[in-house]
């Protein structure tokens, strides 16, 4: 029962990530500018890190970053490390944040998109021994984080529907 309950939610979350990735990679760059390709990956990751508290969270992050990795040259490993970093920070501060207010979601997503980018840049620097990833993508990150932040309340609403629980199933989700 527990595993089915969770797999069902993971399925819909991964479908949301895949559909958004297909939309943003196929239509967005050709309609707007090829340099502007936002992704909902970080927003989904933030929601999961905030919602789930159990031992499986790092594996769930790994799973979603592997799905996302199939759409980008970044691959799963860099994204998972950045995701784990963000997850650890959120687990420390989640009790201090009123996450269900729209403006908090916008600010939260904006700030954590940058934290995600800093962690990613740090590991890219370790790998390539060059800072070019960081300084060449500052402008892109600003545009993408603003876009993600603006979409965050809507995405969180969808995610809340997917991960909706009652009193009986709440413990199940909290312990994932």
């Amino acid at each position: 029962m527990r595993i089915e309950f969770i797999l069902y939610r993971l399925f819909w979350t991964s479908l949301l990530l895949i559909v958004s990735n297909i939309f943003f990679t196929t239509l967005f760059p050709f309609v707007f500018n090829i340099g502007f390709r936002p992704s909902l990956n970080v927003v989904i990751l933030l929601f999961l890190a905030y919602r789930l508290q159990g031992n499986s969270l790092p594996f769930i992050i790994l799973f979603f970053q592997s799905v996302h990795g199939a759409f980008t040259a970044q691959g799963w490993a860099f994204a998972t490390l950045a995701g784990i970093g963000v997850g650890l920070i959120i687990s420390r501060i989640k009790d201090m944040v009123h996450f269900y207010l729209s403006w908090v979601q916008v600010a939260f997503t904006f700030v954590f998109s940058w934290i995600y980018f800093f962690i990613l840049s740090f590991f890219m620097y370790l790998k390539t021994e060059e800072l070019s990833f960081f300084y060449l993508n500052l402008g892109t990150e600003l545009a993408e984080s603003l876009f993600s932040a603006a979409l965050a309340p809507f995405i969180f609403k969808v995610m809340k529907k997917i991960w909706k629980t009652d009193s009986a199933t709440e413990a199940m989700v909290s312990n994932v």
Partner: protein, 292 residues
């Protein structure tokens, strides 16, 4: 170390540590020249790419439909000018054919190496990378169509990149706009060597060209052929800006790619055909690089 002894937190720490070490291993193994991809990534790519292909195809058809009717407005005028251009081109072509034959004769006299026999696979661009920070393109041709890893990809205007990741029916191209893609190149006029890599705002930067080289704005940049990926002589772009400081040993060169990536729809994948000796050389070179 009190938290480690806490039996409630211990599994959580172990699961975090496991995923962190696994990811660090993944980072260490990561190669930005080509990527075999994990089984899971290949699976996701194989199942989602047909949808991207379908959407990409619909987008191109709708764009072509509108642009076709709009272009009809000035067709007769354009037709006349194109006819004039065609006659000029035919004249030029005849001259080039002569030069080609002469070149072949002279090359055989000098016992030059055999010309590379390149197979061409035409493919359609279906999507871009999901992260704006990487410049990857997905095309609708894969292993089953004769595309191989690290094959050069061009368009009629010039170099696009090389095959980075591949499945049976789809492939990803690491474009020259990506800073992780480094192309050994030449300034055509002066034969000055340098490395071209992706820069900001869809421009490229050419590095390691010494200050004493007299390169100019608008000089053409081509591939040098000094790598195991790109054949020699493919156009990369033109010098847009250069800075020669009073100090240092190199100059800063900004290159505008010849290919308009914003409007890129079709690409050509080039692969060496039946040149086993060359393939073996490349494999040996790859192995020696890995060993280093």
């Amino acid at each position: 170390m009190k938290f480690v002894t806490n039996p409630e937190i211990r599994p959580k720490i172990y699961s975090y540590l496991f995923v962190i070490f696994l990811s660090l291993y993944g980072v260490a193994k990561k190669d930005f020249v080509s990527d075999e991809g994990t089984f899971f990534e290949q699976l996701v790519m194989a199942t989602t790419s047909p949808v991207q292909d379908l959407l990409g195809g619909a987008r191109i058809k709708s764009v072509n439909f509108f642009s076709f009717y709009l272009s009809l407005i000035h067709t007769s005028e354009e037709n006349l000018s194109l006819k004039h251009e065609l006659s000029l081109m035919e004249e030029k072509l005849a001259t080039f054919e002569e030069l080609k034959l002469e070149n072949q004769r002279l090359k055989s006299l000098l016992e030059f190496g055999e010309e590379e026999n390149l197979k061409k696979v035409l493919a359609q661009v279906i999507s871009w990378d999901a992260s704006g920070k990487f410049r990857l393109l997905r095309i609708n041709k894969g292993k089953k169509d004769g595309v191989v890893l690290k094959a050069t990809v061009v368009s009629s205007k010039g170099l696009i990149g090389h095959i980075y990741r591949i499945t049976d029916h789809y492939a990803d191209i690491l474009t020259i706009l990506d800073p992780n893609n480094r192309v050994d190149s030449l300034v055509q006029r002066t034969r000055s060597h340098g490395i071209v890599e992706g820069g900001a705002k869809q421009l490229l930067s050419m590095k390691y060209v010494t200050r004493t080289e007299e390169v100019k704005v608008n000089d053409l940049i081509i591939t040098s052929g000094l790598s195991n990926i790109y054949p020699k002589g493919i156009i990369i772009g033109h010098i847009e800006r250069l800075e020669r400081e009073n100090y240092g040993i190199t100059q800063y060169i900004e290159v505008r790619p010849n290919v308009d990536f914003q409007r890129l729809e079709e690409v050509i994948v080039l692969r060496l055909e039946n040149n086993e000796e060359k393939q073996r050389e490349f494999l040996d070179l790859d192995e020696s690089q890995k060993a280093l």
